[in-house]
Amino acid sequence: MKLKIASLVMASALSLPALAQTEIQWWHSMSGALGEWVGDIANDFNGKQKDYKVVPVFKGNYDESMAAAVAAFRAGNAPHVLQVFEVGTATMMASKGVVVPVEKVMRDAGYKFDPSAYVPAVAGYYTAPNGQMMSFPFNSSTTVFWVNLDAFKAAGIATDKLPQTWPEVALAAAKLKANGHKCPFTTAWQGWTQLESFSTWHNTELATKGNGMKGMDARLVVNSPLHVRHIENLGNMAQQGLFVYKGRASSAGTPFESGECAMSVNSSAAYAGVKKNAKFQFAVGTLPYYPDVTGAPQNTVIGGASLWVMSGKKANEYKGVAAFFDYLSDPKIQAANHKRTGYLPVTMASFKLTEESGFYKQNPGTDVSVNQMIRKTTDKSRGIRLGNYVQIRNIEDEELEQVWAGKKSAKDALDSIVKRGNEQLEKFEKANKKG
């Protein structure tokens, strides 16, 4: 009986209206230190006004939270705001009637929304072919080059000028190996860093139609001579023990932090982790390139995630979402977020603010990612937008591993990525054309 009363009380307490405050559900994938960051953002916003209450809910990593949102949407109880990783962008854009463009949410609520305030490579990534900005850039990172300076000194390599090009990287790796280093070079997120960002950095298409930005009928062209040359180069480095493969996704992050690997290509958002865990002097450099390629270096491509507004909610709730996004757009807030997490400042104003505060001088290397991004983008470098991209990234992992293991030539592997990837693109195009 006691239990029954208790549960009755609980049920009535839960069903009470939240005192005229409109709740905004925000599903995200930020764990650990970044999870605390998201909680602080919500608390700060909730403390500054009384009408709305943002409730952040951790729903697992990116693919888990997206799967959860899909299930919730089908059941009719999707959250108001969903954090979606860059890989899911095409899927979100193609799902008609699922999302409300962020530009519309802001305008409807009476805020002025200026997409040109954003860093071009960031805004472009989330802008539909008709010029409408679809989602709100939240946490963006890009690919940078990490160097263990202590290991460089031990191998007698100059530390005042980091390797800028792939031949210089190979040379440094050879010196490190000659000095007894077990893992001279590694890379995280091989699909993102060695194919996607590599392509835009060299102003070369990864896929036709401006890497899919201009339409769903884009097809992969990642078996071009330049791509074959690069993967062949890395494959040879792997056979010589200069490049040591440390696994898919972010697995290569830990071996760099522990000092096991001396050079690494990884996300700029690895900064917080490296700064906290590395017991050595480190430096951040720009992504290496091939100096004989005209147009290189162009700009690198972003990773990370953006916030999508789900459809089917009440007008008042959309006002709350707009108020929250307006709060997030404040350059001061953005600069603070950039300094705290290592994610890119997504607007030019917040970048200038950070620069003026002297942060980049005190923390050398933190501006590398920004400088790689704040350039005028080209049709080939604006971003990547491909359907079924989760599968395609997986195909890239599978095929590249065959090259690192010496089982397949670079050409065969890249041909296979193109063939298998295009099957996915065709399937996506077919599934999304009708409806």
Binding site: M66, N388, E401, K407, A431, G435
Partner: protein, 293 residues
């Protein structure tokens, strides 16, 4: 005088199986029917546009070389998991049955892994075998074996087989132990008096009498290897290197829950279900003949 109680009510047997039937209906038949329906559809992730595509999803699977290769991988994996799992647990049960002191402790320890979730088991073994920090990898390197499950297919396969077997050994062990203990002592004693040693008694008396248990476990372990192991693969190899440990159920899980391709994933689940039904029928028709009840 009749000792057995006879229930004459016609409804009683139905009422007694009703709870179980409901559970099976809701948690098996209904989702299975859903999967069957979805396998003939193609839709975007959020299900806003659903289109009937007939057999397109199945045709796409047959056209996919990597899917066909996955059958071979799955066959090898399942045979290894069922074979090694049954062999090891039979051995453990044999010895545990003979232990006189502290039998309870041994049994509890042997049963414990069954309570561990597949993903946790995967992470546990991944750490043990991790080339840079793993204990097992360290020992292997000391004896001259350069362990690298990231690029060596055999190593990766060994890793998921060991993890899957480790998790299932407890279950098998329990059944074998019960099996050993249900063998009448008189048979063993009679054989011992006739001069049969431990091994002779095992091969000619205990093992033949355990064939029903072994057969049951063969079916259960095959189903386990086919269906229940995606968590292990996801936590350890993610199907790599290449596609060399991408067993059917992992590809299904990946396509459905990570890549949100529900139609393709549903088609795969129908194929997988068919395979397991056929396998089970074959096992009952042909292998069961060799079973002594």
């Amino acid at each position: 005088m009749q000792k057995q109680t006879v229930f004459n009510a016609k409804w009683l047997p139905w009422a007694l199986i009703a709870p179980q039937a409901c559970v099976i209906l809701v948690f098996f038949f209904w989702p299975a029917a859903q999967a069957l329906v979805q396998s003939f559809q193609q839709s975007d992730a959020f299900g806003t546009s659903v289109e009937w595509v007939g057999l397109d999803n199945f045709k796409a699977l047959w056209a996919d070389e990597s899917y066909l290769a996955s059958f071979r991988t799955t066959a090898i994996f399942s045979a290894l998991v069922a074979g090694i799992g049954i062999g090891v647990s039979l051995m453990l049960a044999f010895f545990a049955d003979r232990v006189r002191h502290g039998a309870w402790a041994y049994r509890t320890l042997l049963v414990m892994p069954y309570a561990v979730a597949p993903a946790v088991a995967g992470v546990l073994w991944l750490f043990l075998f991790s080339p840079s920090v793993g204990l097992v990898a360290y020992v292997l390197a000391r004896v001259g074996l350069e362990w690298n499950a990231l690029l060596n297919s055999h190593h990766a396969m060994a890793l998921i087989v060991i993890t899957a077997v480790w998790k299932q050994v407890s279950y098998n062990f329990l059944f074998f132990l019960a099996g050993f203990q249900s063998i009448p002592k008189s048979l063993i004693e009679a054989a011992a008096i006739d001069g049969a040693g431990v091994w002779r008694r095992f091969w000619t008396i205990q093992l033949p009498l355990l064939t029903p248990t072994t057969f049951f476990l063969l079916v259960v372990n095959t189903v386990y290897a086919f269906f229940d192991t995606f968590g292990i693969v996801d936590a350890t190899t993610k199907g790599g290197p290449g596609k060399d440990t991408a067993i059917l159920v992992y590809k299904l899980y990946f396509d459905g829950f990570k890549a949100l391709d529900l139609g393709g994933s549903a088609a795969q689940s129908v194929v997988l279900m068919t395979i397991v039904v056929v396998l089970t029928v074959v096992q009952f028709r042909y292998i069961e003949r060799k079973v002594h009840y």
